[in-house]
Amino acid sequence: GVAGRRLDQELLEELEEALILADVGPQTAGNIVARLQEKAAREGIREACDLKEILRRILVEILSQGVPAPGPCPQAPRVIMVVGVNGVGKTTTIGKLAKRWVDEGSAVLLAAGDTFRAAAIEQLEIWGERARAQVVKHQSGADPAAVIYDALQAAKARGSQVVLADTAGRLHTKMNLMEELKKIKRVMGQVVPTAPHEVLLILDATTGQNAVSQVRLFHEAIGVTGLVVTKLDGTAKGGILLRIVDEFRLPVHYVGVGESPDDLREFDPEAFADSIL
C-alpha cells in the first residue's frame, strides 16, 4: 500500500545518506541505491532489515570485482613497488608487510627509495630493524632510481625473496614526479626483467573523492596492480573504494588498522561492507 511505499523512500534516503557519509560519493551512492531499489522491487522486498541485507550483498559484489595480479613470479626476488601521495602510510605499510613475511620465513630487503623527505631513510631503517629486514640506502638527496638499482642488485646477490621499494610521497598531479616513478620502474626492469611484479598504491581511508583521481593518474603513469587502504582504525570508512574497484577493477590486498607492526589485515569485502552500513 501507500504507507509501505513511503517507508521505502525514507529508508532509501537514509541508506543513501549512510553511503555518502562513508565517502562513497553522491553519484555512486545514487547508482547503488537505484540498483537496490530495482532488486528489492523484483524480489518484493519491503522490510528494512531485508533491504539492508540486499544492500550489503551489492556492496560485497562490487568490492569483489578486483582482478588479482598474476601469481608470484617463479624466480626471486619478488619486487614490490610502493607508491602513493604524501603521508598516506607507505613507509609504515612496508614495515608491516616486511615483518609479516619475515615472520613467515622469507628474506625481505627494503629499498630506501625516498631520498627527498627529511628523515625518510631513518624512518625506514627503524622499520627494517623491527621487521628484521635488510635496508639498502644511499645518502639523502641521492637519485632514487640509483638506490632502487643497487637494492635489486643486492637482493639478487644475497638471495632475498622479496624486495619492498619505498618511494617518496608525491601528488599525482605533479608530472615530473610521476615521470620519476616511471624511471624507477624502468630501472627495476634493467636489473630484474620482470620487475616490478607488483605496484601497490597506498590510499588513506580519510581521503574523499580525490582518491579516484589518485588511482587514475598513478594507474595511467605506471600501472597499479593492487591497493592498500590505511587508517581504517579511525572513523573514516573508505567508501570511495566502491567507486574505485568498480571503475578500475583493482584488487584491495590489505587494510592498515593502526601504527604498530601487526596492524595489517587481509582485505575482507564482507567486513568492509558491514563497517559501512
Binding site: I20, D23, G87, A119, G208
Partner: protein
C-alpha cells in the same frame, strides 16, 4: 563546472516568465551534487543549500535575465561568508613567547608545517624555536631536527623517556632563556577516537596554556573531516586551522566542513613540500575551487 550546469538548467526557461520553485529545486540539486563531490560534509551541505534556497526564491534570482549565474553568485557569496571574509593572522602573545601547538590526524603534514611556520615567523622578524614533542613516530625528532637544520632554526629534541608535556615545557623555558618569541610544538599524529592520546593533548594544553592550537588537516579529507575536527575542538580547543596539500587537485570541501563545525578560521594553506610553500588563507580561491 557548476556555472555551466546551472546555466543549462535555467536555459530551457528563457522567455517563459518567472522561475518556479521546481526550477529552483533542480538548480539546488546541482549545487548539492557539486558540493558533495567536492567533499563538503553531508549535513553542512544540507544547511548550506537551505541558506542558498532562501535567497534563490527571492527577487534577485526570479527577476534576473541570467538566473543560473545569479544562483552561482549567491552560492559563491555564501561560501565566502562561511569560510570567513578576511585573512585571520597568527595570534601572537602580548607577552612573549607565543606558544603554538600543531595537532591533527596521522600524516596530515604537522611536522612539515611546523618547519614552514618557523620560516614564516622568522621572515616576519621573529625568533622561532621548534619543539619535537612527537615521541611515538619512528624518526619524528630526526625529521624536525633536519628541517631546523635546513632553516638554521634551533630545534629542541626530546631526552629519552621524556613525555610530550615535559618536552613542551622545556621548550617554553628554553625560549625564555634564549629569547625566542615563538615556540612551535610539533605533536604526534593521533586518532580523535584514541582516549589516551586525546587526554594527553588536553593535559598539555591545560598545563602550558598555548596561545594557538592549530589543527593541521589534509585538503583531500572527505566526510570524516567533521568527525575529527569536532573531536579535536571539543577535546583540546582549536584556535585555527591549516589546510595542507592544497597544491594537488583535491577540491578541498573539508575546509567548509571544518570551518562550519569548529567556527575557527583557516589561517594558512600548505601548497607544497618545500618549507617556503605556505600561504595565508584567502577564502576567494578555495570558494572557486570547491565550486569546481
Amino acid at each position: 563546472a557548476l556555472t555551466g550546469r546551472l546555466e543549462g538548467i535555467f536555459q530551457k526557461l528563457r522567455g517563459r516568465g518567472l522561475l518556479t520553485e521546481e526550477n529552483i529545486r533542480e538548480g539546488l540539486r546541482e549545487v548539492r551534487l557539486a558540493l558533495l563531490e567536492a567533499d563538503v560534509h553531508f549535513t553542512v551541505v544540507k544547511q548550506f543549500v537551505e541558506r542558498v534556497r532562501e535567497r534563490a526564491v527571492g527577487q534577485e534570482v526570479l527577476k534576473s535575465l541570467t538566473p543560473g549565474q545569479q544562483v552561482v553568485k549567491i552560492v559563491h557569496e555564501e561560501l565566502i561568508g562561511l569560510l570567513g571574509v578576511n585573512h585571520v593572522p597568527l595570534a601572537f602573545a602580548q607577552q612573549p613567547p607565543t606558544l603554538i601547538f600543531l595537532v591533527g590526524l596521522q600524516g596530515s603534514g604537522k611536522t612539515t608545517t611546523a618547519g614552514k611556520l618557523a620560516l614564516w615567523c622568522r621572515e616576519k622578524g621573529r625568533s622561532p624555536l621548534l619543539v619535537a614533542a612527537d615521541v611515538q613516530r619512528p624518526a619524528a625528532a630526526a625529521q624536525l631536527a633536519t628541517l631546523g637544520e635546513q632553516l638554521k632554526v634551533p630545534v629542541l629534541t626530546p631526552k629519552p623517556g621524556a613525555k610530550p608535556v615535559e618536552i613542551a615545557r622545556e621548550g617554553l623555558s628554553r625560549a625564555r632563556k634564549q629569547a625566542h618569541d615563538v615556540v612551535l610544538v610539533d605533536t604526534a599524529g593521533r586518532l580523535h577516537i584514541d582516549p589516551d592520546l586525546m587526554a594527553e593533548l588536553k593535559e598539555m594544553a591545560a598545563a602550558l596554556r598555548p596561545h594557538e592550537v592549530l589543527l593541521v588537516a589534509d585538503a583531500m579529507t572527505g566526510q570524516d573531516a567533521v568527525n575529527s575536527a569536532t573531536a579535536f575542538h571539543g577535546g583540546v580547543g582549536l584556535t585555527g586551522i591549516i589546510l595542507t596539500k592544497m597544491d594537488g587537485d583535491a577540491r578541498g570541501g573539508a575546509a567548509l566542513s571544518i570551518r562550519a563545525v569548529t567556527g575557527q578560521a583557516i589561517k594558512f594553506i600548505g601548497v607544497g613540500e618545500k618549507l617556503d610553500r605556505l600561504e595565508a588563507f584567502h577564502p576567494e580561491r578555495i570558494a572557486s575551487r570547491i565550486l569546481g
